[in-house]
Symmetry: C2
């Protein structure tokens, strides 16, 4: 179980906390409220590399993060994606989308340039998400 | 249970067959081998609109389609996405990606212009997918 986080995922995001299977991180891009869930298991690239039980857990965690992200942000739509074309370690994006956001209605992946959060803005969002997901700080 | 398929989804894709929960369709775009899975339930927009049991079934079907699509196409990566910014009916994309495909490594959604299949090419791919997924024609 020697899980280690891909350095690019780590550099581009901030820790929110751990759920049963996944590490939940906030993508450090103030343009879109955006979570990334990484199963804490080694050598995963595809959803079908997980066991059936782990896949069901992953889905529950993606679903919970989507519901809470919508509740916290009051967004118009949640986008979920597992691409992995650049970073092969399995990770699932859960993104709050607004009809007024710069990429709407297109996808966020590969869109423009990431805009890091001001520290207090990300700290506030992380605190609200931790509370909503019943995570310890 | 008055499921009805969104007319845009129907117009842009070809029926492959039904799994326990989802209708599986081939997106009619010869640039990317691309399945779309639509849960046959009314009034769904988000993954968290499904029951926990249905979500687990959806995940198994997405996973099976991804594994078989990779086996059939010998692709480099499977991309999975549930966006719904344009078509709100819940649908999950399962796309075979190649390092030589025109959108690599970016996402396929919103990329360029859809290129419909020649009829015999799509018929052959659908037949292979039906066989892999043990679906009746």
């Amino acid at each position: 179980m020697d899980f280690s986080l891909d350095p690019r995922l780590e550099a581009d995001s901030l820790l929110v906390g751990d759920l049963a299977l996944t590490q939940v991180r906030l993508h450090n891009d103030a343009r879109f409220p955006w979570l990334v869930l990484i199963p804490r298991r080694p050598n995963l690239a595809e959803i079908f590399d997980l066991s059936e039980t782990e896949r069901a857990t992953l889905t529950q965690e993606v679903s919970a993060c989507g519901a809470e992200l919508r509740a916290v942000t009051q967004c118009d739509k949640i986008n979920v994606g597992a691409l992995g074309n650049l970073v092969r370690q399995l990770h699932v994006h859960v993104v709050a989308r607004f009809e007024r956001d710069p990429a709407w209605p297109g996808p966020v992946w590969g869109f423009g340039t990431r805009t890091p959060y001001a520290a207090e803005t990300s700290a506030d969002l992380i605190a609200r998400l931790r509370s909503a997901l019943a995570m310890r700080a």
